[in-house]
């Protein structure tokens, strides 16, 4: 009396197709019913459901916030990369005409994006302006400053910039090439560290979400144990039994994700003013990043999937234990 034994002989392709079609419809119907049913069960116990969702939200907010901060650090890094310039100071005897030729020679190099010549006179003018020492410097007989060429490398990576500096130093008429990369490298290392910390926290807190949902679903399974035993006695498959719990888990995850999204929006609103003031004090128009449409979608998707997965683990573990009496 297995499935094969009682199944009537197929009467051709049409019957076959309509049967698999009706099976698909039944499957869809059950999904729809369980989706709504699990939502109704959540609403029936609003306090418990909200607490679970908030626990999920708090577990999600920290890694998400860190991720956002690092994302903005990456933007900052790109901006700083452009300021990774070299300055080639020319020998003091080099005149303006020769300086122009040297600049052209530098500009002709492959690794160079842009150059700007600062003649000795221009350098003096900038210096005076910057220091406000026009009078004192004006009394000097000679201009003690050399002409210089500011070089913008094509590739801002530290190794490439260092290599370019070596090449420029070999040019005739160039006395010294200055570059200051140490702080840029430090920032990069910090960003790398931050990324790894964010990843580790993300994994850790993701596990936290799994545990929160898993535990909630475990209790739900326990409270519906009799029902599970009965439906398994009358021929429910594991997938059928699992389905309502998976939807509950997904709802918890989605709810937690929405709360996390709200907390992030609230947090960035709260921090926006001091952050932009801080940025302004460094002369940068730095703004706290916000979760865009894509980021929001990723957050909600991840939280929903985590909820679903937590439920799956909890139910599967318990299905192997629930044995009809």
């Amino acid at each position: 009396m297995s499935r094969e034994a009682t199944r009537p002989a197929p009467r051709g392709a049409h019957t076959q197709r309509s049967r698999s079609g009706s099976r698909l419809r039944a499957w869809g119907r059950h999904h729809r019913a369980m989706c709504l049913d699990s939502a109704r069960r959540l609403i029936r116990f609003p306090v418990g459901s909200l607490l679970t969702m908030l626990a999920i939200a708090i577990a999600l907010v920290l890694p998400a916030a860190l991720w956002l901060a690092l994302d903005s650090a990456r933007l900052l890094d790109a901006e700083l990369g452009e300021s990774a310039t070299l300055t080639a100071y020319l020998e003091p005897h080099v005149g303006d005409a020769q300086a122009t030729r040297i600049e052209e020679a530098i500009a002709a190099q492959q690794a160079v994006a842009r150059t700007r010549l600062i003649t000795a006179a221009e350098g003096m003018a900038e210096f005076q302006q910057a220091l406000g020492l026009a009078d004192a410097l004006g009394r000097l007989d000679d201009n003690p400053l050399p002409a210089s060429v500011v070089v913008m490398p094509l590739d801002p990576a530290p190794e490439a910039v260092r290599e370019l500096a070596g090449e420029l130093e070999g040019l005739a008429g160039v006395e010294e090439v200055r570059l200051d990369l140490a702080w840029l490298e430090r920032l990069r290392h910090l960003a790398e560290l931050g990324h790894r910390v964010a990843l580790a926290l993300g994994v850790l807190f993701g596990l936290g979400v799994l545990l929160v949902v898993g535990n909630t679903i475990r209790l739900a399974v326990e409270s519906r144990r009799q029902e599970i035993e009965v439906v398994m006695l009358i021929g429910a498959t594991h997938a059928f039994v699992r389905r309502p719990f998976l939807y509950s888990g997904a709802w918890y995850g989605l709810g937690g994700g929405l709360f996390a999204w709200g907390l992030l929006a609230l947090g960035s609103e709260w921090l926006a003013a001091p952050v932009s003031a801080l940025g302004a004090s460094y002369g940068a128009a730095y703004q706290l990043p916000r979760l865009g449409g894509e980021g929001s979608a990723i957050l909600l998707l991840c939280s929903t999937l985590l909820g679903w997965l937590g439920a799956w683990i909890a139910v599967s573990r318990h299905l192997s234990q629930v044995r009809p009496r």
Binding site: M1, S2, A5, S22, R23, R25, A26, W27, V231, M232
Partner: protein, 222 residues
């Protein structure tokens, strides 16, 4: 329909619940399974429902050795059997209608067709007017009739019952047995475990007597 070939069942390696059972039940037959409590009636039914597998021998149902069913096929096997439990196993958080509809829901029967079949089953057990009630509002006998309606709503070829009249008074018990006879009359194979000897004797069907896990008598219908 059901064939037991030298079936033995041990629990925990020592306790022998069933020993060397050898019998067959023909399609369309109605059989009573009797004996003291602990004689092995429930164990036997559990083997047929494939809740357990025999330690020795084979159990064939409709020609298939059910011990060899893959775990993923077991649910589909159970859908072919209607089972009535002594404690009804109704779900108390849903109405009579939805309790009876459960097997159809599991099979994915289309809702309008399901409604028709649920009403037919409830009508058969005389509870159509109570379809909206919750199980808790029903008497013991009525609850058992709901359990029967749920067992037959799928039109199973095989109907099993474990002490279906265990908690009922004689009149109600007779009514319940009459229901089983009705289903048997339309071709359903019925196997009922019961220790209500007086009632069984009156009904004149085949009786399998168990004692300490062994078949001690196989009395054909008078």
């Amino acid at each position: 329909m059901i064939v037991f070939e030298h079936v033995g069942k041990r629990y925990g390696g020592r306790f022998e619940a069933l020993a060397n059972l050898d019998f067959r039940v023909r399609r369309g037959e109605m059989v009573f399974l009797t004996g003291h409590s602990g004689a092995g009636k429930s164990s036997l039914l559990r083997l047929v429902m494939r809740l357990e597998r025999p330690s020795r021998g084979r159990v064939l149902v409709a020609g298939h050795d059910i011990a060899r069913l893959h775990p993923s096929q077991v649910p589909f096997y159970r859908r072919q059997i209607g089972v009535v439990f002594q404690d009804h196993q109704l779900l108390f958080d849903r109405s009579i209608y939805h309790n009876v509809a459960l097997p159809l829901e599991i099979r994915g029967v289309e809702p309008r067709e399901a409604a028709r079949r649920v009403r037919a089953a409830l009508d058969k057990v005389g509870l159509l007017h109570r379809e909206r009630a919750l199980p808790i509002e029903l008497s013991g006998g009525e609850q058992q009739r709901v359990g029967i309606a749920r067992a037959v709503v799928n039109k199973p070829a095989l109907l099993l019952a474990d002490e279906p009249t265990g908690n009922l008074d004689p009149q109600l018990s007779a009514d319940i047995m009459a229901l089983f006879e009705d289903f048997n009359r339309i071709g359903t194979t019925v196997m009922i475990a019961s220790h209500d000897l007086a009632l069984i004797a009156r009904l004149r069907h085949r009786i399998l007597r168990l004692r300490d896990g062994r078949l001690v008598a196989d009395e054909e219908a008078a």
